[in-house]
């Protein structure tokens, strides 16, 4: 989110669409995310000219071309670094980073980590499809063990990274999850935008060509309520139409699923979601799907001062009371004057 300096005007979805032909594969999950973003923008009170989409390289990174805003399609993995310079140079801009599991966690993992650690005010949308799409289907750092791909014909053997856990570990003050076709996605995006600081959103995205339906186990509409836990601040962590919930095993210090009888979630010990509880957030991002439902929505949200605000403040304080006279700077330190009679201090 950013402090608006321009007067917000009313926009509609159309105002956020470019005239560019969208070049994703037909049926790609990116279309749904694009629509969700374009639908969200008019509702968050920002303007197209004040908005910049910054991306790296990959399928997801074509995103800026399709948003009628300012956009910078940069190089592989480095979008966070461009965004940092951009935001430091103009803190009024509303910056959205679009990245993927390869771009943001493999080649650009370092920058993602530092952007989050510094808490630059921006939204980071990481489209996780667990595969390299644009390079034709190699396994990615989020691919599950055993993923067969052109580069892993016998199955991948390395353990996958968990984006939300990575972000929280890097010091994120906002972590959320959604998926491409979810109707809740705009609400997640709005919450991310409302958070002042680096807001990390993992968006599960269906790559229909190279990793089709890899998230169907939790994203399929049928029986979704049994497999998705949509977190809401201040509300109990219940799912499966209120028949199940998440509770804390206080002795083992981990989460567990419990049955909720007759809607009495309190009796079952179900936790009330507190978005500012960092300890619980650590457990939520680590919750293994299968044993647990997939935790979605805003997992954690507890703002801290932002990097660019602190930089601006320090720059101002350091410059306070000093005159920016370059000529006097040039002669700073020990100087001497040469006259016809020779040098003197």
């Amino acid at each position: 989110m950013n402090e608006m300096t321009t007067i917000a005007r009313t926009t509609t979805l159309k105002d956020w669409e470019t005239d560019q032909e969208v070049r994703w594969c037909p049926g790609c999950g990116d279309y749904a995310i694009l629509k969700a973003v374009q639908r969200t923008m008019p509702e968050i009170g920002t303007t197209p000219e004040n908005t910049v989409f910054v991306s790296g390289i990959g399928c997801s990174s074509r995103f800026p071309y399709y948003m009628e805003t300012y956009g910078f399609h940069t190089i592989h993995g480095r979008a966070p670094a461009f965004a940092t310079g951009l935001k430091l140079a103009n803190p009024d801009l509303d910056i959205w980073i679009v990245t993927g599991d390869g771009d943001g966690l493999s080649i650009g993992g370092n920058h993602t980590m530092h952007l989050i650690r510094r808490n630059l005010d921006c939204q980071i949308m990481l489209f996780n499809n667990e595969i390299y799409g644009l390079t034709k289907g190699q396994y990615s750092p989020t691919s599950r063990v055993g993923t067969t791909s052109p580069s892993t014909p016998y199955g991948s053997v390395d353990r996958p990274a968990q984006p939300a856990a990575f972000a929280l570990g890097a010091g994120a003050r906002f972590v959320a999850r959604g998926f491409d076709v979810s109707k809740e996605l705009p609400n997640v995006l709005k919450a991310a935008h409302a958070h002042k600081g680096a807001a990390f959103i993992e968006i599960f995205q269906n790559c229909i060509v190279y990793n089709k339906d890899v998230f169907e186990d939790f994203a399929a509409p049928k029986g979704a309520e049994d497999r998705q836990l949509w977190l809401k601040n201040g509300e109990p962590m219940i799912y499966a139409k209120g028949t199940k919930g998440i509770a804390l095993d206080a002795e083992a210090l981990h989460l567990k699923t419990v049955d909720v009888v007759d809607g009495d979630w309190q009796a079952a010990g179900v936790i009330v979601h507190d978005v500012t509880n960092r300890s619980v957030a650590h457990m939520l991002v680590e919750m293994r799907f299968g044993e647990f439902p997939m935790a979605l929505g805003v997992l954690y949200d507890d703002p801290r001062p932002t990097f660019e605000a602190d930089v601006v403040r320090q720059n101002k304080a350091a410059a306070e009371g000093k005159t920016a006279d370059l000529q006097s700077l040039l002669k700073k330190g020990q100087t001497w004057t040469v006259t016809e009679g020779g040098p003197e201090l």
């Binding site: 800026p64 071309y65 300012y70 140079a89 103009n90 920058h111 000093k322 002669k331």
Partner: protein, 620 residues
């Protein structure tokens, strides 16, 4: 170096007869760089022209007494124009056996060795791999030797101040400096003032250091009658009147960048990552917030340049800086800046390579990298500084080109320039022509074209936040005018041609002949920090009557329009470089001239004598 000195070039018979080269050498922890720096200041106050050469190891605190832990500082000062830090020292101050061993081979025959015999014990001799004590075995016979127990003399001098052994010995360098000040008839007061200011919070330390300084000075006075020690007065150099200061290359770059940003009327954003010998530029700029400078220490070299490009996109002057290995990491991002046509200054403080190479030693081996080192046809202007003072001018020039042509610009300097100091006549900023940037703020007649162009083939610079000019940029090939994605064959041909034509068309000043004449038997063509030794060597050879001229190229890319004709006006061209012949290759390629290489890659600057020998060889 010679920037501030009245050029009396060819009048002189023996240009260095009135100059002295002193080399202070000791252990990394002995404070030799500090001693050298203060001696430099005293040379400046004595009105001498000078050039310095700090030569230190890559290790921060190398094990004491070792050969690789030796840190040295050489200064050449004199009463006439000084262009280099000098070839062979006249005086070597050796604070331990290792310093003697690594530095004495360069000492002029008959030169003076001042050795701290207190440090020539069995342990230190073994560490320096001496089998016998060289102070006693006659192996130094071709030099004059003055052995003093500087350690003991210092301890005696600071005794009244009750310092511990270790602290007392730390004053050794001030004792040595005191002796050097006496030797060259220098005023002690500025150094005493400096010590009192430096140790304002520890008056005991200040007093002890001053006492050591005075004791060293007094020793010179009393010992004069006996040994080889003689007092030598070097007259002030004939220098143009004006205000002077000492300037290192890193300071020159930092100040020049700030001046350039002011002339362009832009805030500056500097993205850097620590690397030797470039970090000093980041350090200088990070203290200049009041000049609308934002500095950002990024997580790596790539993020440093990417953040700078991001800032340029936002409408600031983006600057990044590194040395060879870091520049290599930035290569892909430079390509993006070329593709998106955003202004950017990339400073490369070159060091010995490849790979980690010689972090603290100088080299000029990144010229290919600067001119050619990117994927695709990625032309980029390259400007090279010849000295600390010139670095100021070159930084301004790099900023000018970057914003006037919307292009990244590589500014080359090297480890020698970065660390070396020279007297600098403080320029009057009002004499510099401003080149204020005009951002596009509304659509021009005929509609807004993000990749439309002016007469310089420059595209418009639009700040995000500007209503009505929304557009997208990126590294994928752009369509002519619109900047949309376009892979069409004819479009890529046209865009590649435009990118090349834009850089080729950059207006750079015509090449001048530094010394000598247009046309003749031999041109010595240099670039960067070889300026000093080439200039002196050509001056000496011309004084001997040889037909030789010095051409020094600042604009490495694009090259000055008249350079080809100029080079062809000489019978022969030699190109001394601290690499294996990189500018030579470019000149041959561009002009089909038979440029002959003169190369040195030892991590040390050329000596004047080496260039003189090359001139003699070429004119045989």
């Amino acid at each position: 170096m010679a920037t501030a000195v009245v050029d009396q070039a060819d009048k002189r018979q023996s240009p260095l007869s009135d100059a002295v080269v002193v080399r202070f050498a000791g252990d990394s922890g002995d404070g030799m760089q500090l001693t050298g720096g203060q001696f430099t200041l005293s040379s400046a106050l004595a009105g001498n022209d000078f050039a310095t050469f700090p030569d230190f190891p890559a290790e921060i605190r190398a094990p004491q007494g070792t050969l690789f832990g030796v840190s040295a500082f050489q200064i050449n000062f004199g009463s006439s124009a000084i262009d280099t830090a000098g070839d062979a020292p006249d005086v070597l101050v050796a604070m331990n056996p290792a310093a003697l061993k690594t530095n004495v081979p360069q000492l002029k025959q008959g030169g003076l060795i001042i050795a701290d015999e207190g440090e020539f014990n069995d342990r230190n001799l073994a560490k320096a791999k001496y089998e016998a004590n060289p102070l006693d075995d006659g192996s130094l016979a071709k030099w004059q030797l003055l052995k003093l127990n500087i350690s003991q003399l210092t301890m005696d001098a600071v005794k009244p101040f009750g310092l511990g052994n270790k602290e007392a010995l730390r004053c050794k360098n001030m004792w040595t400096l005191g002796l050097a000040l006496w030797m060259f008839d220098r005023d002690r007061q500025p150094l005493i003032d400096w010590l009192n200011a430096k140790f304002a919070k520890a008056p005991d330390l200040a007093a002890a250091n001053v006492a050591a300084l005075n004791a060293g000075h007094a020793y010179g006075e009393t010992a004069e009658l006996a040994g080889p020690l003689k007092q030598h007065h070097v007259d002030p150099a004939p220098v143009a009147p004006g205000l002077y200061r000492t300037l290192t290359g890193a300071e020159g770059i930092a100040l020049g960048l700030v001046a350039g940003a002011q002339l362009a009327k832009l805030p500056m954003f500097f993205g850097g990552y620590p690397i030797t010998p470039a970090s000093a530029i980041l350090h200088h700029l990070s203290r200049l917030k009041e000049y609308d400078v934002t500095t950002f220490q990024a997580e790596d070299e790539i993020a440093a340049i990417c953040s700078a490009i991001g800032a340029s996109y936002a409408g600031s002057l983006g600057v990044t800086s590194s040395s060879g290995p870091g520049i290599a990491l930035k290569g892909e991002a430079m390509g993006l800046a070329i593709m998106t046509e955003l202004p950017l200054v990339i400073v490369n403080s070159q060091r010995g390579g490849p790979s980690t190479g010689l972090p603290t030693k100088t080299e000029q081996s990144d010229l290919y990298q600067a001119v050619y080192g990117r994927n695709g046809d990625a032309p980029m202007p390259v400007v090279a500084a010849r000295s600390p003072g010139d670095a100021f001018e070159c930084a301004i020039e790099a900023v000018r080109i970057a914003v006037q042509y919307m292009t990244p610009v590589m500014l080359l300097t090297d480890g020698y320039i970065a660390n070396a100091a020279e007297p600098w006549a403080v320029p009057d900023l009002t004499t510099y022509e401003a080149f204020p940037v005009e951002f596009l703020t509304e659509a021009p007649e005929g509609g807004f074209k993000p990749y439309g162009r002016d007469e310089n083939l420059k595209r418009p610079w639009v700040k995000p936040g500007t209503p009505g000019l929304l557009h997208r940029i990126g590294g994928i090939e752009k369509e002519l005018d619109t900047g949309h994605i376009n892979y069409a064959p004819e479009n890529h041909q046209a865009m590649t041609d435009i990118r090349k034509d834009k850089i080729d068309g950059i207006k750079v000043p015509d090449q001048v002949v530094e010394l000598g004449a247009e046309g003749g038997k031999l041109a010595v063509v240099g670039w960067g920090s070889t300026f000093g030794p080439i200039h002196q060597a050509v001056r000496r050879k011309r004084a001997e009557g040889l037909d030789v001229s010095h051409v020094h190229i600042r604009h490495i890319w694009p090259l000055p329009a008249n350079l080809g004709e100029l080079l062809k006006s000489y019978d022969k061209v030699i190109v001394p470089e601290m690499n294996t012949g990189q500018l030579k290759t470019v000149l041959r390629d561009q002009y089909l001239v038979d440029a002959k290489p003169v190369n040195k890659v030892s991590g040390q600057p050329f000596t004047i004598a080496e260039i003189e020998a090359a001139i003699e060889e070429a004119l045989k």
